[in-house]
């Protein structure tokens, strides 16, 4: 089960992802990010504080946006990953290609620094 909740903050879009992003549910995550990209949101934050599990399908969603994020110079920041989920990002080195921050404060700090 995966719950996606979008929230417009002052100058960025915050997407809360909670539950398990597996082969059957990751499609919802993809749709949420796709929509945000299509709306031309320049700053997107992904809150994964309540994301308990991610499989290759969920990783694949993030992976597929790496190029677009770089090309369009979008600030795309993931934060709140639990240690076990972060380790999964690390298996293929995706943690190096995505901006991953500890918590919301750090994520916003990064936004403001740019």
């Amino acid at each position: 089960m995966l719950t996606i909740d979008k929230q417009n903050e002052n100058h960025f879009l915050l997407i809360h992802v909670s539950g398990e992003a597996d082969a059957s549910s990751s499609i919802h995550l993809d749709k949420a990010i796709r929509d945000a990209m299509d709306e031309g949101m320049p700053q997107i934050l992904i809150d994964c504080t309540n994301l308990n599990y991610i499989s290759s399908a969920g990783l694949g969603v993030f992976m597929s946006y790496i190029e677009e994020i770089n090309q369009k110079s979008i600030s795309f920041i993931i934060f709140g990953l639990s240690e076990k989920v972060l380790k999964v990002f690390g298996i293929l080195g995706l943690d190096q290609l995505l901006t991953i921050k500890k918590d919301k404060e750090e994520a916003i700090e990064t936004l403001n620094a740019v």
Partner: protein, 139 residues
């Protein structure tokens, strides 16, 4: 003695399998991070079988058994669909996947990176996959 579990071949049911594996491993004092890694590997294999091996049919069951050895854990996954040889599967280049904005193609890569040894046997229409992961059990 091995634990076994029948996985209904539907993507939506995978979470039950994950819960089962997590509980079994927790019983044997495997750390949360290692547990998650193994659950992920098994999840990827099962998802692969369900999606590719069975083409969506859910009448053929996938069975999983977990066997604890002194130096690690062995998972045996048996299915009756199309054979998919993970061992000899040529991995895509992850850089290329990113460049092409692919969403899939990394499941097997994960399994190979996580597991220490992978064996695959296919006889007639029965496929047996053995995954082994070295684990230091916590007391």
């Amino acid at each position: 003695m091995p634990y076994s579990f029948n996985i209904p071949s539907s993507k939506n049911q995978l979470r039950l399998m994950r819960k089962y594996v997590t509980e079994v491993l927790a019983d044997h004092h495997v750390s949360e991070i290692e547990t998650n890694m193994m659950v992920l590997a098994v999840d990827e294999v099962c998802a692969n079988i369900i999606i590719h091996g069975h083409a969506g049919k859910d009448f053929e069951k996938v069975s999983l058994s977990i066997d604890f050895k002194t130096e690690g854990v062995q998972f045996e996954i048996i299915d009756y669909g199309h054979a998919f040889d993970i061992v000899n599967y040529e991995e895509p280049i992850i850089g290329e996947l990113i460049k092409n904005k692919n969403k899939g193609g990394i499941g097997i890569m994960l399994v190979k990176k996580i597991m220490d040894s992978i064996e695959f046997q296919s006889t007639q229409n029965k496929n047996v996959l053995r995954l082994f992961k070295k684990v230091t059990f916590e007391d």
